[in-house]
C-alpha cells in the first residue's frame, strides 16, 4: 500500500486536540483548547464573529502558523512536525482568500500557474493546466487579462482556479464571498459546492455569514477562541 493510499485510508483529514494559540507572550488567547475532527470530503463552515479565532484556526490548518499547545494532525501526521510545510501547502491544500490576493503584474493564466512552480512541471504543462482550470471556472475568455481588468467575481474564480492548480485534497477558503455582491457570492458558492462534490474534496470555509454557512454540510461555530457549536448548519440560528 503506497503512502498516499495509507493516508487516504485514514478516516479523518484533520484532527485537533486541545489546540491553543497565544500571542504577545500569552496575553492574547486566540484559541483556548479546540477539539474537532474533519472527515475526508466534508464541507465544513467555520463561523463566528471577528476575534472568535476562526482565522487563527485557518492559519493552523494551512500550516501558516504553529499552535502554542495541543495537536493538529493532517491525515494522522502532526502539522507541527512537518519537515516541509511548503510541500504540504503546495500539494495537499489550496487557499482561497477573501481579497482574492491575485498578483497584479501577472495575467489570470499566470496567476493560476504560480503554485505549480514547486511542482517541477514544464512551462508548457503549467500553461496548459492553467488554461484548463480557468476554463473549468468559466473564464476561458479571460486567460490573458490582468487582475485589474477583471470583476470581483472573476477575480475570485481565478483565485479558485489557482487553488486547484496542484489538485489538492483540501480547500481552505477564508471568507471567499466577503468582498462580493450577493449575485457573485451565490455564483462563487455554487462553484465551490460543485467542485467539492465533483472532486470529492474537503472544503473548509470561514464565514461570518450564516446564510453562507448553511450551504455547508457541517458548521463549527466559534466564540472567544472556543468551539460553541459543532453540528448541522440548519441548527446554527438557535446557537448564534
Amino acid at each position: 500500500m503506497s503512502n498516499h493510499e495509507k493516508l487516504a485510508a485514514l478516516p479523518f483529514v484533520y484532527e485537533a486536540a486541545g489546540l491553543k494559540k497565544e500571542y504577545d507572550e500569552g496575553t492574547v488567547h486566540a484559541l483556548r483548547g479546540v477539539d474537532f475532527q474533519i472527515a475526508d470530503g466534508e464541507f465544513v463552515a467555520i463561523v463566528g464573529p471577528s476575534g472568535s479565532g476562526k482565522t487563527t484556526l485557518l492559519q493552523m490548518l494551512g500550516a501558516l502558523d504553529r499552535p502554542t499547545a495541543g495537536t493538529l494532525s493532517y491525515r494522522g501526521k502532526s502539522l507541527s512536525d512537518l519537515k516541509d510545510d511548503a510541500a504540504y501547502r503546495a500539494h495537499e491544500i489550496g487557499f482561497i482568500f477573501q481579497s482574492f490576493h491575485l498578483l497584479p503584474p501577472f495575467t489570470a493564466s499566470e496567476n493560476v500557474e504560480m503554485p505549480m512552480f514547486e511542482d517541477h512541471q514544464s512551462n508548457a504543462a503549467r500553461s496548459t493546466r492553467a488554461r484548463e482550470l480557468l476554463k473549468s471556472v468559466g473564464l476561458e475568455h479571460r486567460f490573458n487579462h490582468f487582475p485589474s481588468k477583471l470583476s470581483g467575481g472573476e477575480r475570485q474564480r481565478v483565485a479558485i482556479a489557482r487553488s486547484l492548480a496542484n489538485s489538492p485534497s483540501v480547500l481552505l477558503a477564508d471568507e471567499p464571498t466577503g468582498n462580493l455582491d450577493s449575485e457573485n457570492a451565490i455564483l462563487i458558492l455554487d462553484l465551490l459546492s460543485d467542485l467539492q462534490r465533483e472532486r470529492r474534496m474537503t472544503l473548509i470555509l470561514i464565514t461570518h455569514d450564516m446564510s453562507v454557512a448553511r450551504r455547508a454540510s457541517r458548521a463549527i461555530q466559534m466564540k472567544d477562541g472556543r468551539i460553541v457549536f459543532d453540528g448541522e448548519p440548519s441548527k446554527l440560528s438557535t446557537h448564534s
Binding site: 500539494h91 503584474p105 501577472f106
Partner: protein, 371 residues
Amino acid sequence: MTFLNVVTRGLQRRPVRTGLTLLGIAVGIAAVVTLIGMSRGFITSWTAGMKSRGTDIVVHNMRGSLTPQPFPASTRERIAHLPSVAATCNVLVNIMSVETAELMIVSAREWGGFSWDNLKLVSGRMPKDPMEKAAVLGTTAAEVLKKKVGDTVQIETQELNVVGIVEGGAFVENGSIILSLPLLQEITGNQDKISAIDVRLVPGMDDAGIRRLCDEMSRLIPEAHAEPAGQHLVHTQGYRVINAMSWGTSLLAVIVGVFGVTNTMLMSVFERQQEIAILLALGWRRTRIVRMILLESALLGLLGGILGIGLGVVGIQLMKTAPAIRGLLEPDLSLNLVLIAITISVCVGVLSGFYPAWRSSRLTPSLALHG
C-alpha cells in the same frame, strides 16, 4: 511563463525606480570602464608606440619613482655588444606642458637611431642635423597644438621650427613632438643623460629568451632595468599610482551602486510583503523566494552593467578628445575590460540582494490572511 518572467515582472512594476537604480549602477560601471580603460590605455598605447618603433626591450630606471630618472647615455655601451641585440637607440622622453597643451610627449631620439625609422612624413621634412633647432610633430600633436610646417613650437625656453608633420604608426607616436636627442638634452639641462634605451633584438627570439636577456642586461647595468617593451611601464610607480587611483575611484562608485540596489530591493521586498506571503501560502519554498529576489537583484546589476558600459564608451570618447590627454594615450576598451565590468555589475547585483533576500525569507506566510 518561466521563472525568469516572474523575476522580470518584479522589476517592471516600478519602472521609474528600476530605471533610477539602473542608472546608479551604470554610473559606477561607467567609472570602472572609463578610468580602468584609461589606465590600461596608457600601457597599450605606449606598448603600441614601442612596437611601431620596432623596440623589443626598454632599458629604464622608472621603477622606484613617479617620473623617469635620467641616467648616463654611456650605459648603452655595456649592453650593445650582446649577441642578441640587433640595434640600440638612446632616447630622452619627457611629458611636459607645451604651449596650450597641458601634457605633451616630447620624445628625443639619438640622431640616426632606429627609432626614427617608423616616422613617415606627411608634410615638410625631417631635421637636417642633430643640432638644427627643429622638431617634427606627430599628426595628433600638430592638431592639438594647431601647428603646421613653418610654424614654431616653444619647448621650455627654446623656440624650435616645426619642419615636418609625421605619421608614427601608433597613437602615442602621433601625439608626440619628436626631436633629436642632443637638442632636448640641451633644452632640459640633461647633457649626456637619457631616460631610456630602445633595444631592437635579432629576429626569432621567444618571450622566454627576451626575459633571459632582460635579466642579463639588468645585471650588466644595475643602475637601470631592462624589461620587454610595454611591461616596463606596468611596474613603474607612476602607473601603479594611476591604476590604484582608477580602481579606488571605481570602487567608490561601485559601492554607491551597491547601496542603491540594496535600497531598491529592500523597498521592493517591503512593498511586496503580502505578495511574498501569498506565494509562501501557495506553497513556494523560502529558497525560491530568496532565489527570486537575488535574481531580480542580479538582473538589475547586469542591465546596469550593460548600460554602464554604454555610458563608459561615451565617457571614453569624451576623454579621448579632452585637451589634457589628447594624443597622450588611447583608452583601452577591450573585451577583457567589458567582461570585468559585467562581472563586477552582476556581483554588485547579487551582493546587494543578499540582505533583502534574507529579509524576504523571514516573512511569515500568515501575512497572506491579513488584509
